[in-house]
Each structure stands twice: as C-alpha cells, then as structure tokens.
Amino acid sequence: MSKSINIITSTVVPVNIENIDTDQIIPARFLKATSREGFGKNLFRDWRYEDDDESKLKKDFPLNDKRYNGKILVGAKNFGCGSSREHAAWSIKDYGFDVVVSSFFADIFKNNALNNFLLPVVVSDDFLQKIFATVDTDNQTEIEVNLPEQTISILSTGEHENFDINNYKKTCLLNGYDDIDYLLSMREEIEQFETASN
C-alpha cells in the first residue's frame, strides 16, 4: 500500500450512481478474511458479474469497460454510505485507486479512506457533473488532484476547484503518518486523563 499522497494525475473511472453503499463496494460474503489483503478483486463484485459468475461480465459497468481506467474513482452523491466495513476502503485501494471523488461522502467511509491513504475529494455538485460530462466525451481525460495546493483540475479544459481537508489529516497524508502513531505518543496524557476522571 502506497503510504503518502502528493499530486496524482490520472485518467478516471466514472461510476455515476448515487448512494453507493459499502455493501455494493464489497458485499458481506467477502468480509470473512482475517487479513487486509486481496479485497480488490471483489470490488463492486455484484455490479461487475452476473449471478456472481466471473465469466459473465456486466459489460456496461465502468470497471468492466476497457475505455476507463486510472487511479481516480469518481462516484455520485453520498458515496460510501451504510456499513462501517473498512474492507470497502481496502478494496478500492487494493484495486489500484488512490483517490475517490464525489460531491458527498458518508462519514465513516471518509475516515476509513483517510486511514488507508485513499484520498476522498469532495467537489461541488456542478464540478462533479462537469467531470462526468467531460469523461463521457473523452474517456482519456486526465484529472489532477493536488493535495499540497488542495485543488482538483480537469486538465483538458482547465476547469478546477479547491477542496477541503483538515490540516492535521493533510500532514498525515503528505508524510505517511498514521493516527495510531500519534495516539501512541500520547499514552502518558491518556493515563493522566484516566486518573483525573476517576
């Protein structure tokens, strides 16, 4: 897993569906693993295959469409709602994406993504529609996501937008820091807090 994110320039895979829940991203029957690896092959499993049969591709699903590839996944509003399963973030990352773009993310998914160095980029509804439209006319359209500058740009048209991310998380992503490292460094303060509140 690549730790740390800086500038990512890539073509995109557009999945223009609203309310993509984590059961669609990775169905429950694939949650039985006890390790974090290998979830990518079952990403969007039931939208990719007919009747769970790998020989029966659903051709119109973007992941099966040869015209689309890249490190940036674009989904419609309310991406990642539903179950808290981090397996959803693991499967997207494992499949090869580094960024997910949507106009709106569910909270738990957003945290899970950030904890796995998968960058969730929130754009305006307008900008999201622009991305879908541009990619629709030219599937080789490249998008640049610039974390230090907090900008996202459609390179062929020059259209761009700023996105929000809190400073702490930005530093973590740029430098490859985990929350857990930070928390472990606080053990003493945590113990003092416990004593004080008892």
Binding site: Q24, K32, R36, K169, R187
Partner: protein
C-alpha cells in the same frame, strides 16, 4: 450559553484538541465482534502492543453465526475461522468474550444495553455502524473502521472531529399500529439517506419520551441510515429503571452517585443546534420501503413516487433501484406479495419486539407460501421468549423461532434470501444484495412484517387490528 446533551458528554471525554484538526476522544466502552476485529489484532501484534484497557472491551460473535444447531461446529470454513480467530485473540489479549453458547451471546448492540454495560454519559464505539443504537441511553456511540478499532485497542482513544448537531422533535401521540420503527423510517424518508451526514442527532419531544427503552433503541439504531454519526436521547426515569439491577449496572452508593450525574445529562433550554426538525407524531403511518436505500420509504397507504416526481439528475439511480426491486413507479405497495418474513436484527430483535409480534399473531396462522423467521437478538431474549411461552405462539402460527445472531440482516451467514425473492424485514438496510445476492428487501416494523406473514402480502396492519 447552554450546552447540548451531546456537548456535555463530548467535552468530558476530550483529552486534547489539535488546531485545525480532530480531537483526541477517550472511549469508555469498546464492543468488538468477529468480522471487523481480526485485522486490528493483527496490527497490534505487528507493532508488539498489548490491549491497553482489556476490561473496557466486550466481545461477542454475531454476524457469522448460524441460527440453528449452534451447538454444532460452524459449517462454512471461513466463518468458522473468523469466529475461532476472535476466540484466540480474546484469550491472548485478556478480553471477555460472550461466544457461541454463552448465556450472554447475541448481537453486539442488543447485549450491551441488556447487560447494563451501556450507561448514560459514556462514549462507546464498535467496528459496526449500528453502534448508534446505544445512544438511546444518552451515550455518544458510533461506528468505526478496523484501523480505528486497532487505535482504541492500543490506546482507548480515537481522533475525531466534533460533528454538527441536529435535534429532531417528535411531538404528539402515535396512531394505533404505528411503532418506533415507523417513526425512524418516516424521518429518513423525509430527510433522505444522506440528510443527517456530518451530524449527531438528538431525538426529543413527547412521542420520543413516551417510548420504552427498546423502542428508543430502534430509533437511534437507524440514525446511521440518514448518514448521522450517532443518535442520542436524554435519559429519564424510563432509562434509569431499565438499567437498574442489570448485570453490570452500578449498585448501592455507586448507583446513587451515577444517578446524580445522569440527571444532569440533558440539553439546556438555551443550547444551540445547527439544525432542527419538527415532526408531528400524528402524521406517521405504518411505513414500508420500496427501493434500495432506507430513505426510499412511504406510508402504507401511499404510492411509490412516479418518474415525474423525481429530479432529472436523480432519475438514473432511481430507475436502477426500482428495476432491481421489480417495482413500478407510481405503484401501491399494499398487496405486493412477499416470499419471506424476517423478524430480527439489532433494530428489532429485543424481547419487546417479539412480544409485540406474538400478541398480534396469537390465534392466527402464517400464509401458506411464506417462510417466516423470527431471530432473537440474544441468548437472553431467546430464553425469556421461551419462559414467557411466546415460542409456542410462534410455533402455532407457523413462525420459525431460530437462535440468536444477525441472521438474514446481511448475506454473510447461512441465512440468506434467495435471488429474486421478496422479503419483508425488520432490519435496517434494503441495499442491493444485502440479504443475499439479488434478494429484494422491504423494510418495515415488526407489526407490519407480522401482518405480511399472515396475509402473504404487504398489508396495512391497522386494518387487521380491528379483527382482534
């Protein structure tokens, strides 16, 4: 300025706030289960860490367990390994496990309150989105991912940003045949599956106050289905008397001290909310969902929105959803045939839910071609149902009482709804494939589900209550 209930608890648990970033939040209780914990334990081992506060962790198995013949080894190998892995991790790290066969085993969000582990003023987390259930006891309780499970195991803390606050007031008296599940399905249908994202939601108003603890848990449980980080309800006599005497409830002097604190847990009159929503209880009908997210619900006498009622931009998703469900835009849900009835899950598998169903179906029998599963939320619920003779009522009605677990709430264990079949379910999610590959789910209250079990089709329970 006054404080909200949420803020009172939040502030008490913040160890440190980072400029322009999240806060370090102390966690009082951490529930774990077999599905979202193995990678967290593995992470601890790789870092050479112990569990920081094992006494504050409670473990059970629920998602993967079969709900018949629980005394036999689990047939499916991967499920068996996952359950076994939790057992080994709990032994290794000194965590109490209520495993299969244990008298306290059950769905994680049912056993916490039932054992009195869940108490007002606490912060509670679990690698499971329906942790919001515990908010019914005036706790800040929310679901987390596995990396966060690892953080809490290692430090009993999390990095969290404070959510915005929303209050939803439900005032008035519920109509006959309308129960707490209908309240929450109604709210979600009003504000959509993403309408509360970024918020902690406090439920208030006379209709909420009049609910039992079980019913309040049903409301808080589904907060996540509108995107809320958590749901929360101020504690009162109903709360205190539910907790008193339970296994891990405080006793004697400790009880008095706890009570004194609990009584301070309410939103002050001049507290400020970022959003507020008022709902009249009288407006609410028995609810049913027709689509593939919990916001796609209507009153039982209503109609599925027609294509003209849907925003152009939303049409493709809407049509995809209805196509999956095999439902026509503009249709009535009443009379829609069902193949399965599932009464269970952390939303509606408490003893009160089972009693409600039993008293409604007493003397009736299920329709011929419907399969009806009643899955108690815990061993204790199962035991009580048997003690009260409710199991006999189910048996006579042709309802199958199974053993505790998540069961058909999610297509992970043996209990799945076959492809293309319709299931009316008291669970919380109607996503594509949630109950099994290509299964179709209608979400409803236990009463509405029971009514469908008797008639074999989606029915208005109010019309059937007159017969009693």
């Amino acid at each position: 300025m006054g404080k909200t209930l949420f803020e009172k608890i939040w502030e008490k648990h913040i160890i440190k706030s980072i400029e322009g970033g999240p806060s370090v939040l102390y966690v009082d209780k951490h529930f774990i289960h077999e599905v979202t914990s193995p990678q967290a334990f593995k992470g601890l081992e790789q870092r050479g860490l112990k569990v920081f506060r094992p006494q504050q962790v409670v473990a059970t198995v629920d998602h993967n367990v079969p709900t018949i013949n629980q005394h036999l080894p689990i047939k499916e190998e991967l499920s068996r390994i996952q359950v076994q892995t939790l057992k080994e991790n709990c032994e290794k790290f000194g965590i109490e496990l209520y495993g299969l066969g244990h008298p306290y085993q059950g769905i994680v969000h049912i056993i916490g309150p039932e054992l009195g582990v869940t108490q007002p003023g606490m912060t509670i987390v679990c690698g499971d989105s329906h942790t919001s259930t515990h908010g019914a006891f005036a706790t800040i309780a929310f679901g987390i991912g596995t990396s966060e499970v690892e953080m809490v195991l290692a430090t009993q803390c999390l990095m969290q940003s404070k959510p915005k606050l929303m209050r939803i007031n439900v005032e008035g008296t519920l109509n006959r045949g309308v129960v707490s599940k209908d309240i929450i399905l109604y709210i979600i249908s009003k504000i959509s599956a993403s309408g509360a994202t970024g918020y902690a939601v406090e439920y208030a108003g006379s209709a909420i106050k009049n609910l039992s603890m079980e019913a309040r848990m049903t409301v808080c449980n589904m907060s996540i289905e509108m995107g809320a980080r958590c749901g929360i309800i101020a504690p009162d006599e109903t709360t205190f008397s539910y907790i008193k005497g339970r296994k891990f409830a405080p006793t004697n002097e400790d009880w008095n001290k706890a009570l004194e604190y609990w009584e301070t847990l309410f939103s002050d009159d001049d507290a400020k909310f970022d959003a507020e929503l008022n709902i009249k209880a009288e407006e609410i009908e028995p609810m049913i969902t027709y689509g593939t997210n919990p916001g796609m619900g209507i009153g039982i006498s209503g109609y599925v929105p027609s294509l003209n009622d849907v925003d152009t931009k939303d049409k493709p998703s809407y049509e995809k959803s209805l196509h999956y469900m095999g439902i026509e835009p503009g249709a009535s849900m009443k009379g829609k045939k069902v193949d399965y009835v599932f009464i269970g899950s952390c939303t509606n598998a408490r003893i009160e839910d089972l009693r409600m169903v039993a008293s409604f179906i007493k003397g009736k029998h299920k329709a011929n071609d419907v399969e009806v599963w009643v899955v108690p939320g815990s061993k204790q619920v199962e035991k009580q149902a048997i003690e009260e003779g409710i199991n006999k009522i189910f048996e006579d009605a042709g309802f199958l009482l199974r053993q505790p677990g998540c069961s058909a709430c999610l297509g992970m264990n043996e209990d799945k709804i076959p492809a293309g079949k319709y299931c009316i379910s008291t669970s919380n999610r109607n996503f594509e494939g949630r109950q099994g590959l290509n299964a179709r789910t209608f979400l409803a209250s236990p009463l509405t589900a029971a009514a469908a079990a008797i008639t074999g089709e989606v029915s208005d329970v109010r019309e059937m209550m007159n017969e009693n």
